[in-house]
């Protein structure tokens, strides 16, 4: 990266939180610290919800995912608009009417204190670990590619977030997320424009789409009912619905975003904004990856995108083998590029078939390269596809734009981490600390406690990021973690809303059994992770009325 890139990077990354700190200076009540003020309107809520969900992995790994396997991942978002409608119609009015600070406070009002604490506890474990992954995922890639020290990158990204989140609470999180999301969207649009522009001398956008489609990169919808297929319309619409319903309805990092400001109308419009824009946004990010794939059909890509792993293998003596593979790949690349040019000049099915065969041989060569790396003790440790987009950014984008795109990744890291820490601190105070210390009356005391817990969770997240071994697939690690815990949490809420006769103990034990069942399935079977949401939730909804009827029949209604 050049000097101007570093200037753009640091100016972008630092300016937004500093502006936020200036805007939110002053003392606050607990309500203000956790729910923000009335200046937070639907536009801020909408962008804040979008930024909380997106995170760095969306912008770093997803284009690489499309580069490698096509845009079918889009189907994972098919359940989201439907889930957001349910959240708007059922969850939000209840939360706003009861004026709760956290989602789990509602469980305390509807059931009892132990159920409130169980919901909060499951959330804290899941979100605390996920916050670590959110910091770790971009840090490992940026440090590997840019040569930054891993721990320094983790501490820089995490430390700065801790400072401003602790200082400004929900208001600063929402405010900074609004501007960070604007930078992110602008940066991705610039990257999309550049890749299309760089492609244009070789192939038109229309032809690029056609060829990418023929090479299986553009299958957005697959109605197959084959359970072994990872991304289908059905798994996305059904499994994705439960994941999104749990995430938006019962994950405090999102609930806190749309309850900010305290207006029912703003909360609903902010969420509906997400229901409308999420699928198109993800589509363009994935399409960007598919176009990067097309770009590398005309410009020679590296034999292996994860350059540090490649260089480690050379140091371990794999140089001759890798040189041989690189020569073979050079020849294949030249042949394929000529075939593509011929196809662009005059398309024909025979030419396309020849391109497909050359592409299959290229893929096989890449698999062979990975095996050589593994055999020579240079285990790539993270997915090759995670390095595709950052490599494209650093090698192909003009000076200044590189800094902007690295800022996009850091802004996404900071916005998602800030939302998580804000929610972790709030939940710890409201659902665990305050019920256990009811004699402390001062509002100011709880604000200080919220700040201390936010900082403590920040250190936990940095600890998880520092000690985590590499996760094989960064893009899915967060979703897998969420799916393991979300089902039982969502079950608690669905029983609370729709099964009036069930009381605290029945739903509490039903959730414990459901969580144990999900753990058992997770460790013993290989079913698609999105289904854990439906299984965990279904188990609570079925078991709670049974336990109520058979074991807890005599329990009276109790409120925390």
């Amino acid at each position: 990266m050049s000097g101007i890139d570093y200037l753009v990077l640091f100016a972008t990354v630092l300016a937004i939180p500093l502006y936020g700190l200036w805007r939110t200076r002053g003392r606050e009540s607990l309500g203000h610290y956790i729910k923000g003020d009335r200046s937070i309107r639907w536009g801020t809520i909408g962008l804040s919800v979008l930024a909380t969900q997106a995170g760095p992995i969306t912008f770093l790994s997803m284009p690489g995912q499309a580069y490698e396997s096509g845009i079918g991942f889009i189907q994972n978002y098919f359940g989201q608009p439907l889930a957001l409608l349910v959240v708007c119609a059922v969850f939000v009015p209840i939360y706003q009417k009861l004026k709760v600070f956290t989602a789990y406070q509602y469980l305390g009002k509807r059931f009892d204190r132990k159920t409130q604490m169980l919901g909060a506890f499951l959330f804290l474990i899941q979100r605390g670990l996920a916050a670590g992954i959110t910091i770790y995922a971009p840090a490992i890639i940026l440090s590997a590619i840019l040569g930054w020290q891993l721990n320094l990158t983790i501490w820089l990204a995490g430390g700065f977030v801790i400072i401003y989140t602790v200082a400004g609470g929900t208001t600063i999180v929402s405010l900074t997320q609004r501007y960070q999301m604007m930078i992110i969207l602008a940066g991705m649009a610039v990257a999309f424009g550049v890749v299309i522009y760089r492609l244009s001398p070789s192939i038109s956008f229309g032809h690029a789409l056609e060829v990418a489609g023929k090479l299986d990169k553009l299958q957005a919808v697959d109605f197959s009912v084959d359970p072994h297929k990872r991304y289908t319309f059905w798994s996305g619409a059904i499994g994705g619905f439960f994941l999104a319903l749990s995430y938006f309805g019962a994950d405090q990092s999102q609930v806190q975003r749309y309850l900010a400001g305290g207006s029912l109308r703003s909360s609903r419009i902010g969420l509906l904004f997400n229901a409308v824009v999420k699928i198109p946004m993800q589509f363009f990010i994935l399409l960007l990856g598919a176009m990067v794939f097309m770009f590398y059909q005309f410009e020679k890509p590296p034999l292996f995108f994860n350059r540090p792993a490649y260089e480690r293998a050379i140091e371990h003596g794999a140089g001759p083998q890798l040189k041989d593979l690189a020569t073979k790949e050079d020849q294949l690349f030249e042949q394929k590029r000529e075939a593509l040019r011929a196809y662009a000049a005059q398309p024909s099915p025979e030419k396309m078939e020849s391109i497909r065969q050359l592409d299959t041989r290229t893929q096989a060569l890449r698999v062979e390269t990975k095996q050589v790396l593994n055999q020579n003790g240079a285990d790539p440790r993270s997915k090759e596809s995670d390095y595709v987009f950052i490599t494209f950014i650093l090698r192909e984008l003009p000076r200044g734009v590189v800094g902007l795109l690295v800022a996009v990744i850091l802004c996404a890291t900071m916005s998602a981490t800030a939302a998580a820490l804000n929610a972790l601190g709030s939940t710890t105070v409201v659902d665990l600390y305050r019920p256990l210390h009811p004699s402390v009356a001062s509002d100011q005391h709880y604000v200080v406690a919220a700040r201390v817990f936010t900082a403590a969770w920040g250190l936990v997240a940095i600890g998880v990021a520092s000690f985590a071994n590499l996760v094989e697939n960064l893009i899915e690690a967060g979703n897998i973690l969420g799916s393991v815990f979300y089902g039982s949490i969502l079950g608690l809420f669905l029983v609370a809303f729709f099964v009036r006769r069930v009381r605290g103990s029945a739903v509490f034990f039903a959730a414990l059994i459901a969580q144990a069942l999900v753990f058992l399935l997770f460790f013993t079977t290989g079913i698609g992770y999105l289904w854990y949401n439906a299984i965990g939730c279904g188990a609570v909804v079925v078991l709670a009325p049974v336990l109520q009827r058979l074991i807890f029949r005599a329990e009276p209604m109790e409120a925390a």
Binding site: I74, F78, P81, L82, L84, L85, C88, A89, L209, E210, A212, G213, D216, L218, Q219, A220, V221, D222, R268, L272, A275, V276, I279, P280, F283
Partner: protein
């Protein structure tokens, strides 16, 4: 007084139902467009 408040709330929710219907329709169009995109380019 309470009846008129109830009436107002019902009207408000009915307005929101129309908004939800619009969002649902938009979602259906998104899926249709993605399906057509897949059919055209795969």
């Amino acid at each position: 007084m309470s009846e008129s408040l109830d009436e107002e709330l019902r009207e408000e929710e009915s307005r929101w139902s129309r908004v939800y219907g619009f969002v649902l329709g938009f979602f259906a169009v998104e899926i249709l467009l993605l399906y057509l995109f897949t059919a055209r380019f795969s």
